[in-house]
Subunit: 339 residues, 2 copies
Amino acid sequence: MNPINAQIQLVSRPQGEPTLDNFKLVEAAVPELAEGQVLIRNHFLSLDPYMRGRMNDGKSYAQPQPLNEVMMGGTVGEVVASKNAAFSVGDKVVGMGGWQQYFVVDANQRGVIQKVDTTHIPLSAYLGAVGMPGVTAWYGLVKIINPKAGETVVVSAASGAVGSVVGQLAKARGARAVGLAGGADKCRYVVEELGFDACIDYKEHRDLKSLSAALKAACPDGVDGYFENVGGMILDAVMLRANAFSRVAMCGMISGYNGEPIPMSAPQLILVNRMKFQGFIVSEHMEVWPEALKELGGMVATGKLKFRESVAQGIASAPEAFLGLLKGRNFGKQLVKLV
Amino acid sequence: MNPINAQIQLVSRPQGEPTLDNFKLVEAAVPELAEGQVLIRNHFLSLDPYMRGRMNDGKSYAQPQPLNEVMMGGTVGEVVASKNAAFSVGDKVVGMGGWQQYFVVDANQRGVIQKVDTTHIPLSAYLGAVGMPGVTAWYGLVKIINPKAGETVVVSAASGAVGSVVGQLAKARGARAVGLAGGADKCRYVVEELGFDACIDYKEHRDLKSLSAALKAACPDGVDGYFENVGGMILDAVMLRANAFSRVAMCGMISGYNGEPIPMSAPQLILVNRMKFQGFIVSEHMEVWPEALKELGGMVATGKLKFRESVAQGIASAPEAFLGLLKGRNFGKQLVKLV
């Protein structure tokens, strides 16, 4: 008899902040495999801020998450049955397995799942530092900010899956890395464990003037590159400290995901400081993945790239963990362990 | 006896909108020339929106205009006396001669004045289409927007010295050119004389919804490139119509020059549409001037690049003409004729 698959579906679209009522746990038997298909047992599910954007129906860079279907999401897992010659039982794979325990896929679709090597790299890292978040950090830092040694790079959400990699890559290039994170514990981790030069606790700075003063102290030579994960007041404060010819990689604006857009207070600074702003989605730049993963995998395997994970237990915990992620309650990469 | 030089000085910094009281007409005899110096009689003075920014004392990309000194500004004129072997009486030159009738310069300083050829190009054009405004248009269009044939390029202040060149260069590259200008006369000129595909009279659209609808009608395939001269609501409206991977050349934000910064309403669209914004100052890109001036000069000489001038008469009229420029009362390149 086939195993039972528990999955989380989106059953209504959040108005503003999502709630547990937007999600529903549904169970069904795993179907029989057709020729070419593979059955994967998901070991870890990745929770990421971009998922909030997909829960809306409006215009965005991706199709909205359909209602009454399994929530989309990246996963790593193990092949437990295969009718495809390219995949064997026991293979470890990464793919878009969704918020569920099992995942059936036609493995003849190129790129839909990828085998991964767990000899030197833990399986979960393929959802973080050696996966989409890591490549996101790499693209924004290397292709947009492109820091020179001695320049100052600032990154928001610095203890998170993306931000932590941005700072460590910047340090590896001889730049000064300054993080922004919420709370003393996260800031201590960013400096002491990840090796950033400084980290500002944004929760201690509730207005633009205070935050801008903290940035001035942490960045005495100004800001040459900013990796934007949050938007809102933090972006305004960084722009006040931006140097001429500074670059801003626009990766996420989590502060505006739940409601009305948050304006940029002083766009004329783009002109005054001859800044470059560039928005990007890493899935549109597949050409950089091999180069990025090579650097990231090598750094993780040799212990030069550190990361931290917040792990929720069991598929039923995914909605709660996701709401916590949107509030910054996670510490490092947010995962759900499914086995 | 040396001629009397009348000049306009800045005597106080405007709070908000400038007034005539901020300026003063001062007369003094032209000094004797020292070795290496040249005396130039200015024929035309260029008035440009950037001058408003320099009248402030705050942080900007350029030194503030000093008080009680001649206003800085670009000029074209004729050498009337020379103690420099490289320049002869009768030579036509372009330089930063200031708001005055005469101008003494050490012509051994490289690049401080440049000889120009008026055989096929009128002298005044070296302050417009074949000068700083033209190269500004060229840089933003070619180096930042870089339109492909069939793409849509929008430019604000489309009948002005910069905007008119942006649209004509875009058309020359096979793109669709859409202008924004204030008033039916300017819009008619932009379409009928300059050859833009469409022009929107922003004065007929007093709110974002109306302006955005007009842009949708004028740009049925969305906006791929935007050349920003004004800021404020027009930028917000264009961002609502921006295509994926669109580029915004930030050249000026005249709407915010007089007072409080005008916010950008929806900066998350930079991310959603993976846009690139880039601020620039053309004087920092001297390496492109020869290539740009070659194309611009060739197009003017052969009648392929059209332009229009608003000409005020006499140095005393410069302050009034400048205030009019800030209000969009000029029609085409604003000059002051000094001879």
